[in-house]
Amino acid sequence: MQEMDEFQDYVYAIAPSPDFAQDGICFVGRKSGFFRWDSRSLDWHDAYESLQLPDALVTPAVALSPTFSNDHTIYAGTNGGVLRSEDGGRSWVLGNMPKPPPVITVLLPSPNFEQDGTIFAGSMEDGVLRSPDRGTQWHRWNFGLVDLHVLTMAISPNFAKDQTLWVGTDTGIFRSINGGRSWRPLNFPSDLAPVLSLAVSPTYPDDETLFAGTEMHGLYLSRDDGKSWQCVSAEMFPETVNTILVSADFGGALYLAVATDSALSVSYDAGNTWHNLEIPLPEDEGISTVAAPLGVRPGAPLLVGITDGQILQCSAASHD
């Protein structure tokens, strides 16, 4: 376990490079701005340097193009819109946003991004924005989205075919089955909301499995495409679940990593049994987000964002 940074801050989002195993790079959205972090040299580099900002630009959302290795495209969601860089963070362009400027909370490129160039942004008061042209033009698409406070988003691995994505909001979960152009509430009990985190099984088209992490009521699982939900390990996750990461092994077994404010746990049997990972959290600080650059699997690294701006690096426990 290594401590990477020391200044007081807040880590909102971590986006590891698709080539993390080789380059060890990830991009981090923080209260103090947007940074390129080298997990090997432990160097932090201000990715907004070229903008010469007078003040720190809070960056709650980060996304890399799924083909980042080739196109070097990065998206940074800020208070005021989405910035786009096509040269790995050296220069930035502000996407053309509808007025008034939104506060971006989450960014989510289509798994089919190389072909469809579609990227979604969730916002604090403006619902979902959709860009069909790699982040140049953005349009609000909120038909049926009664709650415009988007806290988290998830997208189907089979998006190219099923055009399905979900948003978690203050009052529940909404689903779109037409590429984010209209929304319907999912049958998620509204008294369990707000929903802070969502995850979709990598084998969703077959197993129809979804996970939802709530602010006050723990982790929930649906195995029938959101028609019904059941609580997962109430004793492990009694309160806030702020990150859920899901991977599948070759046999389709689900590997999960779930972060609460104070603990990070992994499961290698779709949530039936859990192992707590040792995280040396600074006093009075908590976990804000987690990324799994190589997926959730035994021995693979996990990057843990802390509420004071640090990133801690650890590895997922083995099966035993």
Binding site: P98, K99, P100, E125, D126, G127, R140, N142, F143, G144, L145, V146, D147, L148, H149, T169, D170, T171, I177, N178, R181, S182, R184, P185, S190
Partner: protein, 553 residues
């Protein structure tokens, strides 16, 4: 030159009371006349019905819409027949109003039920018992239709269904896309297009047809509208006549640091407007006012309720005795953007409590499900659509004004049906859904011991074959041969009259609206049962011609 055959004129001066069996026979002739006029239009290969126009110099209307054909038949010369015809016409027109489709199927089904039942009654059966058995069969049939209902989703499926309704590929494709986005409740304005093509536009948020009170309030002269960002809204239906009434409001708003305010009012005097304009400080305090939509009607209260749910405001209501003296900052609603032009104003990103908004939408949906009145349902649907946050405009182009009008009518008709499909799903089309109810009806026939009940289920089973028989016959095939083949193929199968083959209808994309089929079953069986219990026809001295013409035209 041979003119038209003279039409026997009813002697309207004499009141008449007609008893059975004469009443039955006359009534039946009227029913059959309407049904036979509509029958050729059933199915995807309909035949046309030519209807003479009131001006003899004009060519006849060529119609294939059952409801419209029935509507054109406004009076029959023989008064007993006229009553039968108008009875069925009313059933068909009400069905059209309720669900927008299914009138030809309904006519054929009604005719079969009525004629078979009449034969049974004349032979000694009890009309009351028959009616009771019919009524009892309705839930059974509806549950059978529920069991075969499939949900529809996606623009492609919706477009396919729209095309089967309107037979216009371009229109159907766009309607499929629109309803995939706006769903069953969304607001859709259908307007005349400027070009030959059909086009659509999606409007973010919600809007009402009510514009700024003064052109001077428009600040963006390129778009000719005023945009208030992160604005507060004072919702009211008050008449603001004296400037001093508004001063405390503006003071409170300024003190609270609010940078934009929209006011909705029933009326604003020129001096109050002047005060509002004089107090505008671009970027510091933007101000505008619009007339509250429908403020002088009961609908105005509903609009204010909806605006309040969207924005979290609490309206100031004139009828509740409220004035601007009741204003406090807590009465204000808020939205990300409030815009207005000369004729409309809209709200994007209302900041009301989403839970309260969802509860309000759910209440309206429940009211919609309960409502029977067509206008009431339309009003509720529009309100729900507005609250769900978006609307679409369909621009219908064509080769000329009459072509555009015809396409617009088709668009309305197809759109209404698609809404029903989205709400209640689809069942196998081409008469298959009703045919697939027959085994259940036959099973009940076998179980029943009472003669009248047995007769009712036998009659229903036979009548439920009639729509498919008619579709097949209209397309030029032998109905008996085809029906035998379909029954052999099993449940879910039907006859695709375009390919001339028996197919599994769901796979072939031949589907009907479940809402329409359920409405047909409910309305027609109830109406047929009622018609069977008619014992006496009472004819007025002066039939209210104007009334029934007005109702249908």
């Amino acid at each position: 030159m041979v003119g038209r055959a003279p039409i026997p004129k009813p002697d309207l001066r004499k009141p008449r009371v007609v008893f059975n069996p004469i009443a039955y026979r006359g009534f039946q002739r009227g029913v059959n006349l309407i049904a036979e006029a509509v029958r050729p239009t059933l199915g995807p290969l309909p035949r046309k019905v030519a209807v003479a126009r009131s001006a003899l110099s004009l060519p006849p209307e060529m119609l294939d819409n059952g409801a419209l054909i029935a509507r054109r038949i406004q009076e029959l010369p023989r008064r007993n027949e006229d009553m039968g015809a108008m009875f069925l016409r009313h059933v068909l027109w009400r069905l059209q109003d309720d669900v927008g489709d299914g009138t030809a199927t309904a006519a054929v089904l009604f005719q079969s039920l009525y004629n078979q039942s009449l034969r049974y009654i004349v032979a000694g059966g009890s009309p009351i018992a028959l009616r009771r058995a019919f009524e009892e069969a309705i839930p059974l049939i509806r549950s059978e239709l529920d069991a075969m209902t499939l949900q529809v989703q996606g623009a492609t499926q919706l477009a396919q269904l729209a095309e089967s309704i309107c037979h216009d590929h371009e229109l159907a494709t766009i309607l499929g896309e629109i309803h995939d986005i706006i769903g069953e409740y969304g607001q859709l304005d259908i307007r005349d297009g400027r070009r030959h093509e059909i086009d659509r536009e999606y409007v973010e948020g919600t809007y009402w047809n009510s514009g700024v009170l003064s052109p001077d309030m428009i600040t963006d002269h390129s778009t000719l509208r005023v945009d208030l960002q992160d604005a507060a809204i004072l919702i009211s239906d008050l008449a603001m006549k004296e400037p001093h009434e508004l001063v405390p409001v503006l003071e409170a708003v300024r003190r609270a640091g609010i940078r934009a305010l929209m006011i909705t009012v029933d009326e604003m005097s020129p001096s109050v407007r002047g005060l509002l304009l004089a107090n505008r400080r671009p970027g510091t305090l933007d101000l505008a006012a619009v007339r509250t939509p429908d403020s002088r009607r009961i609908e105005g209260r509903m609009v204010m309720e909806d605006m309040a749910a969207l924005t979290g405001g609490r309206p100031l209501i004139h009828d509740a005795g409220e004035t601007l003296n009741n204003f406090s900052l807590e009465r204000l609603g808020y939205a990300r953007l409030i815009w207005a032009d000369k004729t409309k104003f809209g709200i994007i990103g209302g900041k009301g409590d989403p839970r309260a908004l969802q509860a309000h939408v759910n209440n309206l949906k429940e009211a919609f499900a309960r409502a029977r009145d067509v206008d009431e349902r339309k009003r509720l649907r529009e309100r729900i659509g507005r609250l769900l946050g978006g609307s679409a405009v369909l621009w219908v182009g064509g080769l000329g004004p009459s072509h555009i009008e015809a396409r617009k009518s088709l668009a309305i008709y197809a759109s209404d049906t698609l809404r029903g499909i989205l709400r209640e799903g689809v069942v196998p089309g081409g008469g298959t859904a009703l045919l697939d109810c027959v085994p259940r009806l036959r099973a009940r026939f076998e179980q029943a011991s009472d003669a009248d009940e047995r007769a009712a289920y036998r009659i229903l089973a036979q009548a439920f074959e009639a729509p498919m028989r008619t579709i097949v016959t209209n397309a030029g095939y032998d109905a008996s041969e085809v029906l035998a083949e379909v029954k052999l193929a099993g449940r879910g199968h039907g006859f695709d009259v375009r390919s001339g083959r028996v197919v599994y209808m769901a796979e072939g994309g031949i589907l009907d609206s479940a809402a329409v089929q359920k409405a047909i079953v409910t309305d027609v069986i109830s109406a047929a049962g009622l018609a069977l219990t008619i014992e006496v026809l009472v004819q007025r001295k002066d039939p209210p011609v104007a009334h029934h013409k007005a109702a249908g035209s």
